[in-house]
């Protein structure tokens, strides 16, 4: 039975125009016309590269204090000269581009290594919640049974919960490890994907292609996974980029409060917290640079999500 090939044209039903195929030329044109999206793509790529190679790139050990305590960053005028010296290899010690913390830790290196925690947590938590949420959402939307309704009710209840407080409880009481933060955030974000996918699946089940797949004798589970799921994923995929950004903000916020990753692990929110007291005294660099890093990174992920969403809406 399954050897019967369903022609492509039945996939979208007669009323809906088939979506334009994604070709290399169309992608290239999209990238040329959307400079904003390109910026987002560059930021996201850099953050991912740093998450993998950060410790290799960083000039200093992010957890090993240097003798220079609370050194300010070099003045803007001296930066070009310092870059030339660094490139030519004339410096005995690498430059503290962002200055040093009160303990003598090199801020530039710590900012570069921090994605190991922040970005990895964001991507991992989003990946887990994406898989769990879309599968549960598919089941709930496709087989509209009693248990499906229960899933949705439970996830609704979950969302009326004070989420920030719940996250703090979970992370602190489990011991404040990175893996606890990942699992907590994954649990918090799963309902988002569940709802997105579920409502999308509900709008798909009546389509002609589903009927056709059923008519040729596919099993229900095969129809759900092979035909309905790929057609219901777009909103969830768009959401993924946004969720990574949220997770980065969440991780940094938790650590800022002292309820996240333990110091001296380099993490942007923790760095801001340790620089906060010095800010009042006029030393701005320990908290400004990690803050800029969060701000730019999260904006990058938000750009990708928002631009794709705007395009999807058209």
């Amino acid at each position: 039975m399954s050897s019967i090939v369903i022609p492509q044209s039945t996939e979208q039903g007669p009323s809906a125009a088939p979506p334009a195929r994604v070709t290399r030329r169309r992608v290239a044109r999209f990238l040329r016309q959307n400079w904003l999206f390109d910026i987002g793509l560059v930021i996201v790529s850099i953050s991912l590269v740093l998450a993998v190679f950060g410790p290799v790139i960083a000039p200093y050990d992010p957890q090993l204090p240097t003798p220079e305590v609370s050194a300010p960053p070099p003045s803007l005028a001296s930066v070009p000269g310092l870059i030339v010296e660094t490139v030519l290899g004339r410096r005995e010690h690498p430059v503290h581009w962002f200055g040093t913390e009160l303990t003598g830790l090199d801020i530039f290196s710590r900012v570069l290594v921090a994605p190991r925690v922040d970005v990895v947590v964001g991507v991992a938590a989003t990946a887990i919640s994406f898989v769990l949420g879309t599968l549960l959402g598919l089941l709930a939307g496709f087989f509209r049974t009693r248990s499906a309704e229960t899933i949705i009710r439970v996830s609704d209840t979950f969302q009326s919960f004070p989420i920030f407080i719940l996250a703090m409880i979970l992370v602190v009481l489990t011991g404040r490890n990175v893996i606890d933060i990942v699992l907590t955030l994954a649990a918090l974000y799963t309902p988002i994907y569940l709802r997105l996918t579920c409502s999308q699946v509900v709008s798909q089940v009546g389509r002609t292609y589903v009927e056709a797949a059923r008519a040729v004798g596919n099993r229900e589970l095969v129809i759900a996974l092979k035909h309905v799921l790929p057609n219901s994923l777009t909103p969830a995929l768009i959401q993924a980029s946004v969720t990574i950004g949220w997770a980065i903000l969440f991780t940094a916020g938790l650590t800022f409060l002292g309820a996240g990753v333990r110091p001296p692990t380099p993490e942007w929110g923790g760095m801001i917290a340790s620089g906060a007291n010095l800010l009042i005294l006029g030393e701005w660099w320990p908290s400004v640079f990690p803050g800029l890093a969060i701000s730019i990174t999260v904006v990058g992920y938000a750009i990708i999500g928002n631009v794709l969403e705007a395009r999807y809406r058209q």
Partner: protein, 343 residues
Amino acid sequence: MPWRYILRRLGIAVVQLTVISVAVFFLMRALPSDPVGHLVGFNASPQAIAHVRHLLHLDEPVLTQLAIYLGFESARFGPGLIQGNLGASWNSGAPVAEEIRTYLPITLELITYSFLVAVVIAVPVGLIGALRPRGTVSRAVFLYSLFAGAQPEFWWGLTFIFFFYVKWGLVPAPLGILSPFSPAPPRVTGMVTVDSLLAGNLGSFVEAAHHLALPVLTLAFVLSGPIIKMVRQNVEKALQSDYIMYARSCGLPQRRIATYTLKNSLAPCLTLIGILYAYMLGGAVLVEQVFSLGGLGQYAVRSILSFDYPAIQGVVLVTTTGSLLILLAIDVVHSLIDPRIAQ
């Protein structure tokens, strides 16, 4: 008013509240935390540990502990939840309800003003952004809402403090709502700005407003992002809808059309504002911490970091009740705007 709808929703809310309270109760006892160790400190003798365990009723079976918390064992262990008692904090020994009554109004004050400012900014900006979807202004609005919605508010709070306090001296030190030397107005609601007005104390009011300006600005900035986006999208959608086209073709005056558009597009925005407000009951903690306001969020952090179970349970109960009531209120308003929902 759709009373039957409200009653049914209240019933569901009570069930949700019970489920969440019990779930949090078990969650805290299932996770590997050590409140006794935290209280007795290092090098405590086994007898001391056993004694503290007994004092906290942690040596009872978990179900008995639940019964004590809920108040079914009030004869032996004193009143519990069903008698309206949230227990005493393990940190301070003070009744949790009393402590929450001190901290909650501060959070409410902060987030209510922030939402007012954010909405006052977001609605007109979102409207302008929706009028010409492809124009320069619309693009700028899109960029702003994207940017503001993706910012670490605690860092912006610190940055604002650096400029407005350290550099320019325009605002008072970020140390609470009133400076430590000013007398607080007599307590009525717990919200300093309201209480000082009730007491006719204009000086206090101005001082509180001055202290609140920067935290409110910080929070309103971050909140304005998602609200602008929501307003923009919904107004755009409404303007393209059939009923607006019909209204236009009937030759209705521009003002009537604007009313229809707003009425239909602000309802979803109201839902978003409600959800954000409920989230901020706990989520405002970052801004509270930066400005040392002493709100409910900070109380929650303190309690969680010191494993103060009764305080944590109290905060969860209160914030969950708050968010459920807010979401219910939003739905009721919704059903008044759009009667199809209540059916």
